[in-house]
Subunit: 463 residues, 2 copies
């Protein structure tokens, strides 16, 4: 990685840029605005400097050409989709090539009979589902950013989202991948069949690898048939977040399978109410959606649990009214963003540990004298505690509070990150979860794919 | 790997055996019968010689002690469960240590609320489900050998079975693993949460690695709630296997989700009838089971498709009668085993390609003048063509016919092995499916885990 300042590129940087332009022409941008934009994602992290160039390949050949140049010149490459990442893996710095996959955004093939689709990585989740709908199919991974995030980004982070407790995470939705390696060779991993055990499962290894092993240039994804029948949504208010968390744990423990189960913590609900100009009623909100033929029967059973645990609930099977009930949840991020800089966290615990995890967050709030507005995908034990602060840098005391929270999640049998990934933000805790031996083994596996260390250097595994 | 004959062990082999006995006492067996038994599995393959010893560890410490000795003495180790494998990965040869996991067979922990169980690898599938039933839970992977196969073996091959079109393969049922590496260190992979993206997904990489990367000593598996409600089974006779295959493809393409959909080919059905002393009615049989609250409605819809495609069908929702309908399918292996030596194959194609794959098998039968009795898990496009021959060795012409079949499956977008694994039997086709670059990369990944090449040497990746 070059150490020169971006204002005064060395001959070496010039050579890289000239090689890229010679090979890819106007698919290479040196525009200051584009290079500057690639220093950011949604993590709040900003890289140390401006990358060399933003290359926007249109074909697999283009990607291979970029990687051959990168390998020949030992130039680092950061693969980037829509830049909606929340951990910093797509943030590009000084001396790096940005490989933007946004122009490789087509749906290439659909098989309704075999329930798969072949897509380029830059396709936006919402666009894919719009194009699949006429075939009676949909793609289940649905991060909150689905209107603007890419399937390639889903694959990079093994994205989850609101629906994954019932419909699975990205790993369960990918059958095969075409991947360009650091040296420009292309591999075809996996298959189009629903089963297959020929050799090691490198498809699964790529999913969640955050751009550190190779560049995904095509994906065969599993699609699902659009669910016929009703939906039913319950929105319930509880006096405390622990009560709401207990109700969510009871709902899953009773064998019901919500398609969506979102929990809004107490301070989160207060900020949402303020943001929307609603009266501050206090307490915590649980929103549960069921779908499929048994939706109403399941919702009735859940309603019984909710009211017996002290929740005050409304049930609706009208899609418009249901959407209105979810509006509270969707207003969370805008309501917090106005308060200051936000560090969005992502711990995941066994579902039954949700009440304990919320209690721990409450203790940390009290001890540090801070608010940690929190929402959770309660169906799979995944919490998004938000730390709010002034200015661009995360203050030491916020890191200290986050550190306590991470270690508490690990103690409860949980994990640092349920769906956002490690990127830059969680590297310091990676050893706590994996242990020294596993971390070193993972670094060795990374070196097999990328011996020069040019793919996302410093991301996930450290410098 | 030693080249001495087992009758005259070298001093080196003596040293290994003495070290094992010193560390593990009577958990080391030198009995000829046990060592001889470990030369076999259900693939028909027999190893080149008798292994050094059969070690049956009772604890993780025992496994670590064995692997430390193996590493110190560069002695190969073959990990073995119940020996029900169909590809030869658990076959132990001359100079090798057999690590039998059968004594580590306990259910250690169950969480009903979080729907997981912690098990030792030697637990038998059927025993696990018997112990889970009082908790209202079950473990979905159900290879045909479930009465005698181990969960560790399921993990080694990423086992599927009859139910996996609806309920997923082993990879979808494993949350985390404890693995002892070749050098005796232990890693804890994965987690107890339903989501988690901290670092590379080594849990998924281990699943299906057939004993080549490490020794699984504990698994946290995802369990499911026992399905309430009715079952409904359809058994339908078609004039030809292509017609039956077309019906199965129509059933899945129409959005129905059978829990089980088994297809019995024409010569397979003839041999089953002869074996059971039934009149030979000819044709092909399709058996479809639905479960859950919508079972009967789904079965009615499937019945309409089946009869419109020329099938003659009976429908039953009586569990005893349903079991009788499945008896035909269960008689397949016994009916073929009496004919001679059997090579059980395992190709998988996209479901819509099932009719084409059956047609290709028919052409190969005609051209070679042989019968290839075939059954299929039609819900996921997985065929088990059986090659029958005289004597212990696979004749060259059978290999040639199998070779044509494998390449046809690959041409149809399929894979060499849907659920049995590569082991020894399918190594020669691995390059055809993976390509040279991916095969070499997989070998390098294997070396990261096992630099001395002592775990299952020669298995999957070749000598």
């Amino acid at each position: 990685m070059s150490t020169t300042s971006p204002e005064h590129p060395t001959a070496a940087s010039d050579v890289v840029v000239e090689s890229l332009i010679a090979a890819l022409g106007d698919r290479v941008s040196l525009a200051e605005s584009e290079r500057e934009a690639a220093r950011h994602d949604r993590s709040g992290y900003v890289s140390d400097g401006v990358p060399l160039a933003v290359v926007t390949p249109e074909t697999i050949d283009d990607v291979q050409a970029v990687m051959r140049i990168a390998t020949a010149t030992h130039t680092p490459v950061v693969v980037r989709g829509a830049g909606t990442g929340l951990a910093g893996a797509a943030v590009a710095g000084h001396g790096e090539i940005v490989l933007s996959m946004l122009a490789m955004n087509r749906l290439l093939e659909v098989s309704r009979d075999d329930e798969y689709a072949v897509v380029q990585p830059g396709i936006i989740n919402a666009d894919l589902n719009e194009q699949l709908a006429p075939h009676g199919l949909w793609f289940a991974p649905d991060p909150a950013s689905r209107a603007i995030s890419t399937v390639g980004g889903n694959i990079a982070t093994n994205a989850g989202g609101l629906l994954c407790a019932k419909y699975g995470v990205t790993r369960e939705a990918v059958l095969g991948l075409k991947v360009v390696l650091a040296d420009g060779r292309m591999l075809e991993l996996g298959h189009r069949t629903v089963k297959g055990v020929t050799g090691l499962d490198l498809t699964a290894l790529m999913i969640g690898s955050e751009g550190t092993l190779g560049v995904v240039v095509e994906a065969t994804v599993r699609t699902r048939r659009l669910v016929p029948g009703a939906i039913a949504v319950i929105s319930a208010t509880f006096g405390s977040v622990e009560d709401a968390a207990r109700a969510s744990a009871v709902i899953t423990a009773s064998g019901l399978t919500p398609a969506v189960m979102e929990l809004i913590g107490e301070s989160a609900l207060r900020h949402i109410a303020a943001h929307l100009g609603l009266p501050a009623t206090g307490g915590s909100q649980l929103i549960v959606q069921f779908d499929g033929p048994g939706a109403l029967a399941e919702a009735d059973a859940a309603l019984t649990s909710i009211t017996s645990l002290g929740g005050i609930a409304v049930l609706s099977s009208d899609p418009v009214e249901a959407e209105r009930l979810f509006a509270l949840r969707r207003s969370f991020h805008p309501s917090i963003a106005v308060l200051g800089t936000v560090l969005i966290e992502d711990v995941c615990v066994p579902r039954s540990a949700l009440p304990a995890m919320f209690a721990t967050i409450g203790e940390i709030e009290a001890r540090y004298g801070i608010e940690i507005p929190t929402v959770a995908h309660a169906g799979d034990g995944n919490l998004h505690p938000n730390f709010v602060f002034e200015g661009p840098e995360v203050p030491a005391e916020i890191w200290a509070a986050a550190d306590e929270m991470f270690l508490a999640a690990l103690r409860l049998g949980g994990t640092l990150t349920g769906e956002h990934g490690v990127g830059l933000l969680k590297r310091r805790w990676l050893r706590d979860e994996l242990g020294e031996d596993q971390l070193e083994l993972q670094r060795q596996l990374k070196r097999v794919f990328d011996p020069l260390g040019i793919l996302g250097p410093g991301k996930v595994f450290g410098a």
